[in-house]
Amino acid sequence: VSWVEPDIHGSVHNPQSNADWSQLLGSYGAKDGDPLAQVFRIARSNRARTVVEENRYVDSDYRSEYSAFWSERFPSRPAFARRLHFFRRTVTDERVHAIPADAGYLGYATLKPIVPGRVGRTVMAPPPRLAKATLTMATDRVSVFGTPFEVTGSPFVEQDTEYLICAHAATWMCHYHAALRGLVGRRHTAELVRLTPALYHERALPSPGLRLNQIQAVFGATGQPALFYGIGNLPTVEGVDTPIPKLDAVGRELPAGFWDTRLFSVICRYLNAGFPVMVATTVHAFVIVGWFREGKMIRFVACDDNVGPYEVITSPFTDRRAPWQALMVPLPPKVYLSGENAESNAHMQIRAYAGSPMATPAWKELATRLAGGKDIALRTFLRSNLAYKSVVGQQERGDDATRALRLARMPHWVWVVEAHDRAARQAHKRSVVAEWVWDSTSHDKRPGVVAFSLPGAVVAVPPDGGTPVAVGGPTGPWRSHFDVAPQP
């Protein structure tokens, strides 16, 4: 059977045993350890019973690569892709033209007629192990022989090592996620390659690898300039422990990627905001798409083009790619304020109000507990003001507070810092005892507050010197944004 069969629509597979799945994997020239094998593992963990294969699929990403590169090569190469759709229920070829809506759609993986680089645009539902993880996901809509389905997941694509390399794959994974969220217009993979500026003496093709400023240029050109963090110089945040550097056997300081625990909070702020974080090592790039707690440990979830979607990273410090060197976080262009300064300033203001003449006993107690560093945890995330105001109405903060916050004048994106009572949060009770909302367009040196809530009071602070409005607020904890809407 050739890659592009003119006489068939595709095929339906119903693998049951390990051998059936291995045989299917092998039929695409893949083996255990390849990204396609990881796609299959994810599908099987979600109890996939059916794989519907589309023949002669016109994948606009692959077609863009084909036009720009593969068609220029001497060996012949099909212009078409294939696409696999995974279903939890059994679907037969006889009914593939009318798949029921409740067939349990689990996602898709595009296959390209190239190896390496077999796995093209892919969006799979996350595995059950990640059910409680915070994941940066977006919803994609597909048509399977005319029947519409949708899947919510983190996009994935494999590099081909010649045209699309890992840096392109990583930028695309961030970009397609933003495009699905409607934050930017969609660019095809070949456009990302074309947007890479030639800043060095090497030829662009075959790609010798990208430098950080080239990656930044691609992020910028696609409408999501990236915040940059060198892991050797992570910012300090009030209330977050500054780690002690780790030394090697002869007393030399090891690279910060082996010990700087601040990277957990830096990365999680953006994951909590719904934005994936690209990690760069000296030779590789991949994307962190989520995190979860396992006991007292934080685990990251990655999409690495060499591995596949939803790889669980036990620890960044023992990770085989360690030491991580840099983080890049593509964000909406007008988010100028960093999450770190939003959090530090919220910390500072809670303590400042407790020391002001109008402080209530509850404010003073909150500040004392916050300064103690154990009882109160700050959770910082970016939200559109639409998402923020939508959730405010579901947090049970009272009608006055809801009105004040929903009518407050806010920029499109706001940084939100929630102060959580740790014990209440661990007991799955209402846990938010204070909240600061920051203007994301303000400067790190002069963060602009938009609204804040302390026990008993909610204050909206208008822009341009307008008059602040304080109303009565809840005196006890209220529901977190994450309890109401885990996905932004």
Partner: protein, 66 residues
Amino acid sequence: MAAEKKPHGVLVSPDLARISEGVFRTSDEAAETLTPAERASFNEASQSVVDARQSAEALEGLLRIN
């Protein structure tokens, strides 16, 4: 003022009016209420964010990602 409060820390109009008038407009204004040690710690954190923005230069040319 305390006599005007309802039970359980609920604030009444005079409290809220004072809060409206006492809002800190800038971080510097808020920081004035902190102790010198607290202020120094906060300033260090703020400056570290600015410093972190400049760390890309140290990595430029070091990494080639492929």
